[in-house]
């Protein structure tokens, strides 16, 4: 490996990230209301995608439970928001409190689900996690119809700027946590599980515990994001909260960006979410069609995602053989 370019890229990336974060943090000072709303939605996708890739990208266990954790966050927010409406309107720090509770409840759910199902391999785990989304959705529908007599509920409304800052904070926290997990021995353990789980167990890794805990950690951020987005959507019901698109899009975005590096899912989600926004406004009728074509092309021609392509080009320009580089 070329040592110089390795160090260089190691410094370059955090630098770029820092610059982007500064721009993002100051955006409400000069940006339009539209740009704040657009960025909120892009950041939401980035969080969902990076959280998904944190667990599934490295272990190869395809989780389709993102929408379940997201929906749990939404409902936590809706229920707590109603209880504490006065507190929230008086003190916006209360929003953060609710968001944290939403994250924790999602993590508990992930912990339980993980402990039960993470012994299942491959497709069984994927199916079970997707079943979880439908299960909770239908449970809530049944509950609402049977006991409250209405479907859906209103969520306490707060300003777009507050939502933006909270979601940016969640993103920052997620990136830090992801970065440190990937660099730690547990990051190495996750990758070894993805490569050869049996061998990982036989060299002393408590594979079940590592999987369950990282799965739960990844769910914290999804739940938090659900809690804060609920306050932007103002009205929610089980169909909105447990939307299967929120399960599949992060998977696709991560594949689109490339899951081997930490920044792959970020780039994938940003490009994809922006693309969705443009297509949705320019071609409202063909948007899903174009989306599908882009996806199929990605899977067929970019097995390592956008990042893989960029790396290949850089490697070719540098003339070296970057057969092995990880972020």
């Amino acid at each position: 490996m070329n040592k110089i370019s390795f160090n260089y890229s190691k410094l370059l990336l955090p630098g770029i990230l820092l610059a982007i974060l500064v721009v993002l943090a100051t955006l409400p000072l000069y940006g339009s209301n539209y740009s704040i709303v657009l960025l909120t939605s892009i950041i939401m996708y980035v969080i969902l995608t990076v959280s998904w890739a944190l667990f599934s990208g490295s272990t190869g266990y395809i989780s389709l439970a993102t929408a379940a954790f997201f929906g749990v966050g939404i409902y936590t927010s809706a229920i707590l928001g109603r209880t504490f409406t006065a507190s929230i309107l008086a003190n916006e720090y209360f929003v953060v409190f609710i968001v944290i509770i939403g994250g924790l409840i999602s993590a508990c759910l992930a912990f339980i689900v993980g402990a039960i199902t993470l012994r299942l391999r491959g497709i069984y785990f994927a199916i079970f996690t997707f079943g979880l989304v439908e299960l909770i959705k239908n449970l809530l529908l049944w509950y609402e119809v049977k006991f409250t007599g209405t479907r859906g509920r209103f969520v306490v409304v707060i300003g777009n700027e507050t939502i933006y800052y909270v979601i940016l904070g969640i993103l920052l926290l997620l990136l830090l946590v992801t970065y440190f997990i990937r660099r730690s021995r547990y990051g190495l353990a996750l990758e070894s599980i993805g490569e050869h789980e049996e061998a990982a167990a036989h060299i002393g890794i408590n594979v079940t515990m590592v999987k369950v805990i990282i799965f739960a950690i990844s769910a914290v951020f999804v739940g938090m994001t659900g809690s804060i987005m609920a306050m932007r959507w103002t009205y929610i019901d089980p169909y909105i909260s447990f939307d299967p698109n929120l399960t599949f899009l992060p998977v696709l975005m991560a594949i689109f960006g490339g899951t081997r590096q930490m920044y792959g899912p970020i780039i994938g989600a940003v490009v994809f979410a922006y693309l969705e926004e443009i297509l949705l406004t320019r071609f409202p009728y063909y948007y899903m069609l174009i989306f599908g074509i882009v996806l199929a092309a990605t899977i067929l021609y970019l097995p390592n995602g956008l990042v893989g392509v960029v790396q290949k080009i850089i490697a070719r320009l540098a003339g070296g053989k970057h057969a092995h580089s990880r972020g």
Binding site: L188, A189, E195, H196, A199, A201, H202, G204
Partner: protein, 244 residues
Amino acid sequence: MHILEGERVTKYFGGLAAVSEVSFQVDPGEVVGLIGPNGAGKTTLFNLISASLVPNSGVIRFKGKNITGMAPYHICRMGIGRTFQTVKIFPNLSVMENVRIGALFGCGGRISATEATRKAEELLEFVGLPQVSSTPAGSLTFANQKKLEVARALATQPEVLLLDEIMAGLNQTEIGQAMELVNRIRQSGVTIVMIEHVMKAIMNICDRIMVLHHGRKIAEGTPSEIAKSETVIEIYLGEANAAG
């Protein structure tokens, strides 16, 4: 005291007894060979010792302690390392990381990252792979992947090392190197149990040999005793000799 022992260990796959009432003892510092025709239950026995599988009946003890039914990671941390018949390295991790990860997780206590790196370097030197430490493990030659797997197992600081056919598929030169490696591991104080089809290696290295056939232990003794045993020659050596 025996460092590793099994008492009437039995494992069924459906109605088939893959390992049937096998008792064995391994003493500290020994090299024990495990031979037998394909399907005799050798790898199954390794899987039972390392807890990939749980026996239907019988007890396995390590340093006098019952370890039957423990989790694989726990067995490893207690001091039993293993390699796999089909190489199971982590192909996309670097050679260095493959060994480091064994050092990081395999020892009972916590070990610092620098300590793990130092140990991994030492072990790569020991097995003869120091030049390739930064390449992805998947791009190594087959023989080197086998060496890497041994280094990874050694990184977990085992007291007993289970080697599952580390010489299969190697050429004569590589077999010589592997034999020399096994001898050096033994000199470092690690007790070894090895499954092997390469008779030259088994006969030269092992202090004692156990023969499995259809899941049962049919013979046990020193290499010369085994080489003379009528039953063993009939079911195993005869077959191997005929095959070349």
